[in-house]
């Protein structure tokens, strides 16, 4: 099975040593839910022209880590985050960082599609409205159109922008959520198992979309599907029991992991 996971050409072309400054970097990030330590010191760099995948068994802290990156853990009263996370060298947990601005720069797509019970247009226009990105109606329309086009949904919905977003199919809803995230022009997009509620065809569409979005946005994606990680990502991090066990080029992780635990997981010995 591993042999079929052919590394993409970009992987091999990249230098092994990173000289560039990363888009986001996490150092020794720990998360506690009450007294329980869910994340035990994770350090990772996320670069802006590639897709970083987080894999690992259920409950190992992938979502928890992803939520640290745009401070969505703030919404959970019992959660406490330590360590530093930087976006372009700025500490996102510092007092100087406005969480509203942070989330506009680091967008998020959830596991279950969660369009607002508003029209398709309003769903996409929501973010730009809040952040005042459009001066007038036509600018707003342009942003909505551009975002829907980038999310590969425009052709399917251009004639029914006033219909409710919740009336779309699951896959369309998820692309609508991606369009919604894109509309505020983020720098990083976080995706937490974006395909787990979708059928294979809708999944293929989203994966294709991730390919197209790569390079424009830094993308971090959590997935349970290892083929998907291999297909869409250039870097993979393997999490286990709240630790980040191994992080490296996707091709290396899948063909030649350094750690026994990684090996066991990707060969399906436990999950």
């Amino acid at each position: 099975m591993i042999d079929t996971l052919i590394p993409t050409p970009t992987d091999t072309a990249e230098p092994a040593v990173e000289e560039r400054t990363p888009k986001m970097s996490a150092r020794d990030v720990k998360v506690f839910y009450g007294a329980k330590e869910a994340l035990k010191g994770v350090s990772i760099d996320i670069h802006d022209d590639r897709v970083t995948a987080f894999i690992g068994p259920s409950g190992c802290g992938k979502s928890t880590f992803l939520r640290c990156l745009n401070r969505m853990n703030d919404t959970i009263p019992s959660a406490r985050v330590t360590g530093t996370i930087e976006l372009d060298g700025e500490d996102i947990n510092s007092a100087a960082m406005d969480v509203v601005q942070l989330r506009a720069r680091v967008g998020m797509v959830f596991q279950k599609p969660n369009p607002f019970p508003k029209s398709i247009f309003e769903n996409v226009a929501y973010g730009p409205r809040i952040h005042g990105l459009a001066e007038n109606k036509s600018e707003l329309e342009a942003i909505v159109e551009k975002s829907l086009k980038r999310a590969g949904l425009w052709d399917e919905v251009k004639d029914r922008l006033n219909e409710s977003g919740t009336a779309l199919s699951g896959g369309q809803q998820q692309r609508l959520c991606i369009a919604r995230a894109i509309a505020v022009d983020p720098e990083v997009i976080l995706m937490d198992e974006p395909c787990s509620a979708l059928d294979p065809i809708a999944t293929a569409k989203i994966e294709e979309l991730i390919h197209e979005l790569r390079g424009r946005y830094a993308i971090a994606i959590v997935t349970h599907n290892m083929q998907q990680a291999a297909r869409v990502s250039q870097r993979t991090a393997f999490f286990h029991l709240g630790e980040m066990v191994e992080y490296g080029k996707t091709s290396d992780i899948f063909t030649n992991p350094r750690e026994q635990r990684t090996q066991d997981y990707i060969t399906g010995r436990y999950g």
Binding site: N70, V100, M108, P117, Y126, I130
Partner: protein, 460 residues
């Protein structure tokens, strides 16, 4: 008296029959065979079957008996001499009954003293008959039910069916009562509309229900235009009270669900709900004695000469406070029903908490909130005590909150208190008003329930 004894006897028979049935069932089991149903079910089955038919008989017999007694009394020689005039005769009969049952020593009308023994005898005879029949029925059904106690008898499902029957009966009582209320309202209202045309009642703008007692009396012709009353009701209950209750209720619901820490919520919510438990008459005092003078003084201070001490504003303000828990608990429920995923989606786009509430949570919760508000309105316009104590009696069509207006419920109380003839248009008007109010609150409730249900479907 005898009927009460019969009641006790029936219960004793039922309990005994039940005990016997259990003993018998236990005995059957003693043979090492498995019973279809536990002995207790046999006991319950036999007990219920013994008691229910007899009790049903008693319930039917009681009214039949008083009819029979009256007939017997009227047929007696003393009864035949009673005056023909219905009202006098009824008075004498009821006095005779009171003497016979020992409630009073002697009647006001001399005839009643003569009839009392006849009454007493007839009553004794018929209640004896009734009691005997009831006890016989109980014994008979006990015997029949006992014969069913066998190894394979499904007493358990029998009890189940009886229970269902009981429950159906209980809910039927509530439904039938509602029906009865509606019918009696309807009936009396029809009598009213024979005297006053529905158009005048529904669209007339002048209300002064004093009808002349004598034809030559001047100045009190009686006008039954209910529009001012409904205006007053709407002004106090649907406008002023809602201006108070909707924002306060909604904001406290938002605070409680979205901002308050769990500990604060655990304290604040019950305190808010205490408001719903305050007797309305207490709100009435509060409105009349505390708020009304304040409102009047305030009105006078800002130069409104017509400020009355029975202002619409005082009643409406207090009613609004009373309604807050309704609005807030309905709003609370519907806000809590908005999925967390929706909130997260908005927050993750960089929306603040209040933007999220304003643009995502509230619109999604709106139907539930609207439903709650409609229910609150329907309660507010039917509310009586506050307006009786704090709103005025003058039927004014004014939008001045410092002036006095009257409401439908206040007028109903007004029309029905004191000595009234039950066939004058004035008294009957109370029923027409009640019917109209009932119809309005019914419609409001129906709409509210529909709105709420539709909204529930959207998320489940």
């Amino acid at each position: 008296m005898t009927l009460q004894l019969a009641l006790v006897a029936i219960l004793v028979i039922a309990a005994t029959a039940g005990l016997f049935a259990r003993k018998r069932a236990t005995g059957l089991r003693g043979g090492g065979i498995r019973l279809n149903s536990l002995p207790n079910y046999h006991a319950l089955f036999v007990g219920l079957w013994t008691a229910l038919p007899a009790l049903l008989f008693l319930a039917i017999w009681a009214p039949v008996q008083s009819g029979l007694v009256e007939q017997a009394v009227l047929a007696s020689p003393a009864g035949q001499q009673l005056p023909d005039f219905q009202m006098v005769r009824d008075t004498i009969l009821s006095e005779a009954r009171d003497i016979a049952t020992g409630r009073i020593a002697a009647g006001f009308n001399p005839e009643s003293n003569a009839i009392a023994p006849v009454y007493s005898a007839a009553y004794g005879k018929y209640s004896m008959v009734g009691s005997a029949l009831a006890v016989l029925i109980a014994l008979g059904s006990a015997l029949l039910a006992m014969r069913l106690v066998k190894v394979d008898f499904r007493a358990r499902s029998g009890v189940e069916r009886l229970m269902m029957g009981l429950l159906v009966g209980a809910s039927l009582i509530a439904i039938l009562t509602t029906l009865g209320i509606v019918l009696s309202l309807l009936f009396e209202s029809l009598r009213f509309f024979k005297q006053v045309s529905p158009t005048e009642f529904l669209f007339g703008t002048s209300w002064s229900p004093q009808t002349a007692i004598r034809a030559d009396q001047a100045g009190s012709s009686g006008a039954f235009g209910s529009v001012p009353l409904f205006w007053g009701t709407a002004f106090i209950g649907a406008i002023i009270a809602m201006i108070v209750a909707i924002p306060l209720g909604l904001m406290s619901a938002i605070f409680l669900t979205q901002y308050a820490p769990a500990r604060a919520r655990a304290w604040l919510k019950p305190i808010l709900e205490i408001l719903a438990g305050v007797p309305t008459v207490v709100y009435g005092y509060f409105a009349a004695l505390t708020v009304a003078p304040l409102v009047r003084d305030f009105g006078l201070a800002i130069g409104i000469e017509s400020a009355s001490s029975e202002s619409a504003l005082a009643a409406g303000l207090v009613m609004g406070i009373m309604i807050i828990p309704f609005v807030s608990s309905m709003a609370d429920d519907s806000i809590a029903a908005v999925p967390q995923a929706m909130r997260d989606g908005s927050l993750a786009l960089g929306a603040t908490k209040s933007e999220t509430i304003k643009k995502v949570v509230l619109p999604a919760a709106l139907p539930g909130v609207v439903g709650g508000v409609l229910l609150a309105v329907s309660r507010a316009i039917g509310e009586t005590m506050i307006v009786v104590m704090a709103a005025g009696l003058a039927a004014n069509m004014t939008a001045n909150p410092f002036a006095s207006v009257t409401t439908v419920t206040t007028q109903i109380v007004q029309l029905l208190t004191g000595d009234q003839e039950f066939d004058s248009a004035k008294t009957l008007a109370a029923f027409a008003l009640g019917l109209a109010l009932f119809v309005i609150t019914l419609i409001l409730n129906l709409i509210a329930l529909r709105v709420v249900r539709k909204y529930r479907e959207a998320y489940e």
